[in-house]
């Protein structure tokens, strides 16, 4: 709950900032290039002798049956839990960087303690309601 005034940044700082993430972007490209190159080299060396049996879904040697759609709904609960907790961890990091005495101090610690304790209360609730057990 605070207000945001975009602070003016020096052009050189922004250039530096963009360059760092440009490096990340270059690495995305590099990874794809490496995958492509290896597959390209592989395509020159490997054989290709198509037979229909090779393209059958593998089910330990027996003929595959049915479809593969149904899965346990429990995974959905874990996914929801994850979203909640992961978003909350994002809020912990800004405090962590400024946690010390000359930064946010006891006030910040009090804030984060309340935050984490409410989080723990939520976890305790889930635990008690049996959502963490593989029932």
């Amino acid at each position: 709950m605070t207000t945001f005034h975009a602070p003016p940044l020096a052009a050189s700082v922004m250039t530096e900032y963009y360059r760092q993430y440009l490096a990340v972007a270059v690495f995305v490209g590099a990874a794809l290039v490496m995958v492509g190159a290896m597959l390209g080299v592989g395509a020159l060396l490997r054989p290709k002798r198509p037979q229909p049996e090779k393209y059958i879904t593998y089910e330990s040697g027996s003929d595959p049956f049915g479809t593969f759609g149904q899965q346990n709904v429990r995974y959905y609960v874990y996914a929801l839990l994850f979203v909640i907790f992961d978003v909350e961890t994002v809020f912990v990091f800004p405090w962590a960087v400024n946690a010390d005495h000359s930064g946010l101090g006891w006030f910040g610690f009090g804030e984060i303690a309340v935050f984490v304790l409410i989080l723990v209360a939520g976890l305790g609730y889930l635990w008690r309601k049996g959502l963490l057990s593989w029932a």
């Binding site: 709950m1 605070t2 207000t3 005034h5 946010l104 101090g105 006891w106 409410i118 209360a121």
Partner: protein, 511 residues
Amino acid sequence: MILGVAASLVAHNPRIDWFGIAPEGTLVATAVAVLLLDLVMPRRDSWQTSRLASVGVLVSLGFVVALYERHGGTTPMFGGAYVVDNYAIALKGFFLVVAYVTILLAVDYIGEGDYYQGEFYFLLLTSVLGMTVMTSARDLITIFVALETISIPTYVLAGYRKHDRRSNEAALKYYLIGAISSAFMLYGMSLIYGVTNSTLLSDISDKVGQTGHGKVLAVAIFLSLIGFAFKVSAVPFHWWAPDTYEGAPTPVTAFLSVASKAGGFVAMLNIIFFGFSNRSNVWWVVAWLLAILSMTLGNLTALRQTNIVRMLAYSSIAQGGFMLVPFAAYGIARDHGHLSVAQTSFQAVVIYLLIYGAMNLGAFGCVIAVARRTRSADIEGYGGLFTTSPALTVCLSMFLASLTGIPPLAGWFAKFVMFRSAIDAGGWAGTSLAIVAGVNSVIAAYYYLNVVRTMWFKAPATEAGPVQVPSALGFSIALCTVLVLAIGVYPQLVGHIGDLAAKAASVATGS
């Protein structure tokens, strides 16, 4: 080390008025305590959580009263994003009373059905927390966070009868509408931030007052208003409301139609009066259209309803239209340069909200009581209610008459301040608003009084004994009755609160 702790508290403590946020702090603590208490309680004792919840609400209310007694004036926190002035205090008190009455309405309904009890009160308290924060919010982000804190628990509450398809439909519709309205609102807010480079309403008000960015600001304000129009179910963004109100458990419907709606109106008050005042030429037309459409369509549709909950849902849309009248009036007056109308129109919205809360909650209380016997909400089922349950009939008649606006019940004063703001605004726009509001009051009288007629003069549909009213429900109905009567006879009760609020607001707007 202790000295170090003390020193660091002094050195790094942002200026926080702990007393000022004590009501909210109490609500947070109570909500968490309710949730944890429910975990350790055996299932058959979980109704006890309602006690804890109501005690928490009352303690919070005590802090609000103490804050009013403090006479500290406005207390800005977080760089002006959070202000505890008399306007905020008055509405905090309103929301907490509504929360208390809702708990009373719900305790037997929730206790007797097969519901999760602790979670119900937890969600209710969380929503109320959002409302109390909203009253103090003077910043776009705070407003948005408060609005979501209000809304998200109510999505769950609307679907609380989870084995009932209509309740599921109610929750889903409400949720989807909430998501859409948030999207509109956020888009508008992001444009406002883009133009003004601030999320603080006071800064926005200054920047908006300067020339330039006309088209972008128009789009931004328009989108924000549409978002709020969804929240307060103003026509033509109202179509979710009747289904949601009918499907949700009735105490939740009472809460939605009073507290949740009021939360939306408070957000609108904040953003329009504190943020967009200086661009009234953009938004008064929108407010004017929304007001006229909501009053007319809400009332005409309410005429045709045979289910009393749906009737009250449409009537609350129409009442929302009445509450939009002062907004439009303020915009019109500002456009003409009558700055004095700011006070009366602000006052009118606050007063209307307070009175509407008392009478609508009372009406829903009676509906819940009657439904305990008839298990339905058909208006036909109210036939001959007077012969079996005279006291309840008198109360419900009073609430309906008050909703109509008949003196000496509170509703007349709400209508009076609303008309006054429209007439003060003047011009063709103000006059037309007043005329439409007048015609609509007459239309509304027909369907409200039709229920009264059914209760007093029709023969009972079935042979049935008197309605058994549990003590909590009875107390809440009695409380609303007393309020409606007292305010009607002595309107200065809320008039004073409205004055205080408007004075605080005029400090903030500088008009």
